[in-house]
Amino acid sequence: MARRPPCVPLDGDELPGGLALDKKGTLEAIKLNTALWKECLDQGGLSWDDSSNNRAFLAGSISITTNGASIYFTARDKFPDIYKMMNHAPHPRGPAGRFYHLPVHSSLVMKHSKNQKLAKEFIRYYMDKEQYTKWFDVMGGYGLMPTKMWYDHPAWTRDPKLTPCRDPIKDARAPGYAGPPSRKASEALTKYIILDMLVKAIQGATPEDALKWAADELKKIYSA
């Protein structure tokens, strides 16, 4: 069993991002994560990169992992036995709810661009239903929907095993939640503060020390 993006169930307080970390709920989450890691998860996971869990799953060394449907598609094409036996399900719900950290991609036009009008028209063109349908269809349940209107697209129900992949977007949170996504939130993300907090606890630090370290680092980032 392997688990990739660690989602910390917070107490649900609507405090600005980062500062909400220093809570009892986070401490419980660290303890749970450490126990889960030691008892159920692949011990090699600390050195994994983005695709290690795909490889480990397809090699048969783990039986459950957090992932989009990429493993499923590879299994469909190359590992028929695994393909027949595998399925998707939502994350279990925590005390404060169910949360996903999903990467969001935005199409932006630079203010200094010389072709702003053309660039905007291009975005409008390819996001237009006529064009985007083809793209969405080809993704076949791997991509996330940009707006609610794609919820009823047949790509989600053509293969019932892919239908669970339709819903995580509802519980997705941007980095920095419960605060707004911001430069500071993305700094916390790229410095892996939350991830390091959990790893420190796995590597032997007390949950309290790991939490204190992360809270201090986040305070430094957010107070700058």
């Binding site: 692949d42 430069r183 410095k191 590597q203 370290w213």
Partner: protein, 328 residues
């Protein structure tokens, strides 16, 4: 024996000492003969491309980097002057302090390992009789293969699930549980040091081999006659005579290893839990991944004082130290 006239003439001649840069002033140019002027002009023309390249690709980015380190620039915004605030922030950043300590550990251990292995390989190569060319060429492979490629291969070899190293150790019965080469802070640091040593050993070996071949066999013969055994011959003859080459190679290697980026970036990405970051990888993480250009520039410039000292020592050593006698 020279005649009195000759010796007076040679005493009157200016010393063929070092050319002082100041001697090439404007006055000197005015007094020069047309041939000399033409030569200088040619020299200037030949030097210009290199000078332009240095100014464009070394001097400008360096000065720009220093300036950027004093701004609070982020991607898309020029930023305001904040003085040394970026450096103060880094000083309080626990990950940066860890990266700084890591860089010294990485450089220290890797350089010593490379020296030890390089010396062994050089000594073996020096005493080889057959297959010299093919062995020398194959020995250089780790150094010639692009680092990104070879490191990717190492990444596979140390993969937590598919490691061939673990597989081999398991098959011969040396381990029963797999070793997580890149999973813990100490193991991961050890692994990147080992891979760096593997990559850098050929550079040491080939340079030390060149040095070894300049040592006259007579010296060894004389020491053998005096009753020195192989161990004594190495420490009393080879090591001291090779010292100038060793020092220069070490200094070059320290500079390269200290500023290393590719190897750690590919093998661990600075992880797990930011435990194998070096100055360069962390500077990249702050500057490019996070988009805080000012802080990233400051983090990478933090390498500068140490590297500057190493370069100063290197220049001094080549000119005045032991290196002046043996290498220059």
């Amino acid at each position: 024996m020279p005649s009195p006239a000759q010796s007076t003439a040679s005493a009157a001649l200016p010393k063929p000492a070092r050319i002082r840069p100041a001697a090439f002033g404007l006055g000197r140019f005015r007094r020069a003969t047309p041939t000399e002027r033409r030569e200088w002009l040619l020299a200037l023309i030949l030097l210009t491309p290199a000078l332009v390249m240095l100014l464009l690709f070394v001097a400008y980015p360096f000065v720009r980097g220093i300036w950027l380190g004093l701004l609070d620039s982020v991607v898309g915004r020029e930023g305001d002057f904040v003085g040394l605030q970026n450096y103060a922030k880094l000083w309080n950043d626990s990950i940066f302090r860890r990266a700084a300590a890591n860089t010294f550990v990485y450089t220290g251990f890797a350089t010593v390992l490379k020296l030890a292995m390089g010396m062994m390989v050089a000594l073996m190569m020096n005493s080889l009789i057959g297959f010299k060319r093919i062995l020398r060429a194959s020995m250089l492979l780790p150094w010639i293969v692009p680092t990104v490629l070879s490191t990717l291969a190492w990444k596979w070899m140390l993969d937590p699930t598919f490691s061939i190293v673990n597989w081999a150790l398991y098959q011969v019965g040396l381990i029963r549980l797999r070793i997580d080469w890149l999973g813990g802070p100490v193991m991961a640091m050890g692994s990147v040091i080992l891979v760096n040593a593997w990559r850098g050993t050929p550079f040491f070996a080939i340079t030390l081999l060149a040095g070894l071949q300049t040592i006259s066999p007579d010296v060894y013969e004389a020491s053998s006659i005096d009753g020195a055994n192989a161990w004594q011959r190495f420490w009393k003859v080879t090591w001291p005579l090779l010292m100038p080459v060793t020092t220069v190679v070490m200094l070059f290697s320290v500079i390269q290893t200290f500023a290393d980026f590719q190897l750690v970036y590919i093998l661990t990405g600075g992880g797990p839990a930011n435990s194998t970051h070096l100055f360069a990888t962390y500077a990249y993480q702050i500057g490019v991944a996070t988009g805080k250009l000012g802080e990233g520039a400051a983090a990478s410039l933090a390498m500068f004082p140490f590297l500057f000292l190493v370069v100063l020592f290197q220049l001094w050593y080549i000119r005045h130290g032991e290196g002046g006698k043996g290498v220059a």
